[in-house]
Symmetry: C2
Subunit: 125 residues, 2 copies
DNA sequence: ACCAGATACCTTGTATAACAAAGTACTATA
DNA sequence: TATAGTACTTTGTTATACAAGGTATCTGGT
């Protein structure tokens, strides 16, 4: 079990939340998102972002329009749909509850368990 | 894309962190953990917890001993190994950074993007 | 006109992990 | 010796992050 795997797991879901948030603040294209996520120290790569954006679009949470660039190929500028805004609001609740729950557990909300008495121990198998 | 999926994703990784934390506070067996996680509103089921505990043990992060119960079959009481304690410390850092990064993005750390001018828009494809 | 480099987006294959559901095993009680 | 309750295990399914490689468009130099 590598620490990297767990870190990846932790990012999952949060990524979706962060991306919806970034899109909610104004129209952006993929490189904008990558830049913002990277500067916030949330690692993402293209191979993760593009399929995620496709999933969000297929689910009707985001929509995009092609916009020509003055310095390269056209870009897909994304924005939230109405359904996306509702979804984001739900995610916000989920996230906040999850952080609260985690804090509850990790801030030594202690006192439930006692060490097992030697006399009760059975043989190791 | 169902909200449940994203909620599941969000729990991933966090779960591992919470379980290691619970184990770090004293010897517990699976039902203890389920109870604590449930009361903290973090949903888990047996089919998730047991394989996770097996993974943690194979990775040398936790260890257990069989302890006879006065009211049923014997139980596996888990505790952290030294490697598990180090791992937990690393996870703590990862988690805190992730919360900070997410807050950074979601507390409208705004101002990067402008709406796209109508004149720049290309035709929808 | 052509080519190199930069930019933007897409696809395929692999590995991991949560979950549902069904199964095994042990204990106490009637 | 059934029955119920507790504890632990396993199998199959599904979702998704990521690495790596691919396609398409535009600009600037020659």
């Amino acid at each position: 079990m590598k620490i990297e795997n767990t870190q990846v797991q932790m990012r999952k879901g949060i990524l979706e939340y962060c991306i919806l948030h970034i899109i909610s603040r104004g129209e952006v294209y993929a490189s904008d998102m990558l830049e913002e996520l990277t500067s916030a120290k949330i690692m993402v790569v293209e191979g993760t972002l593009y399929p995620l954006l496709t999933r969000l679009r297929k689910a009707g949470l985001v929509d995009y329009q092609w916009v020509e660039s003055t310095s390269g190929p056209p870009r897909k500028y994304y924005k939230l749909t109405e359904a996306g805004q509702e979804f984001l609001a739900q995610l916000k609740t989920t996230w906040e509850e999850l952080v609260a729950s985690t804090n509850h557990i990790t801030t030594n909300h202690n006192g439930t368990v006692q060490p097992v008495a030697e006399s009760q121990k059975s043989k190791e198998s």
